[in-house]
Symmetry: C2
Amino acid sequence: MTAQDTLVATDVQLDLGAVFRALADEHRRAVMMELAADRSDPERTCTSFDLPISKQTRTHHFRTLRDVGLVEEVNYGNRKGISLRRAAVDARFPGLLDLLAAEYERDGHERDGHERDGGVRAD
Amino acid sequence: MTAQDTLVATDVQLDLGAVFRALADEHRRAVMMELAADRSDPERTCTSFDLPISKQTRTHHFRTLRDVGLVEEVNYGNRKGISLRRAAVDARFPGLLDLLAAEYERDGHERDGHERDGGVRAD
DNA sequence: CGCGAGGTACGATGCAAGTCGTACTTGACG
DNA sequence: CGTCAAGTACGACTTGCATCGTACCTCGCG
């Protein structure tokens, strides 16, 4: 490790307004839905999410999620680790992550990875 | 009653993005928190919420809440009835209203009305 | 050590949304 | 029927923010 291995935003005060504002954006919500749905809470990379945006915008969105305290980032220099702050979020906003996880499933994704073909329903 | 007694937005498709966008605003969130906290679900008036905004803006916010399907409005002509669509919201987003209600209590309000003096904590 | 990929900083831009002023409608109350 | 309060419509203003271009940094890899 180097001095650069910075773990950011571990003691952020979670604020419902800030959280809703963060979750109001389509891409950030997609990220949070994916994170909430995976109960193994792995440390993921920014690029592992398929966001159809430029990397500058990606940085902006992940920074927002970190600032409001929804995720943690570990800075490896030229790579970044993203992980959900499940315990903190669950403690402060019980049911929120379940809501996001449920929406992830409803969105056409299945917990174990195989798609169901009737997935996309109206809207 | 007259033909004006219009009941609006009873069959709206609740969308999580739209809901979060609606709840991202401070005033709309305050309204929803109050509505969620009162389990008797009374029909309230727009003026019964103490919003520090002009009436045009108030109209705008309640229209937004109605459009996304969180509340119902009954038009009495020169008065309007607002009520929470608790069943629909609870069915589509289990836990969301509980979350808002909990936040209402945490915000310094008590279920039975008396304030706790340690209410305001830090920033 | 040069290159490439991931990430950040800064600034510009375009759009969505909150806010309010003015004006009009509706209904309750004398 | 005149007045007033609640609500709406339209428009203007302003702020916030998502987006990206350009430039720079950091690390791994050969």
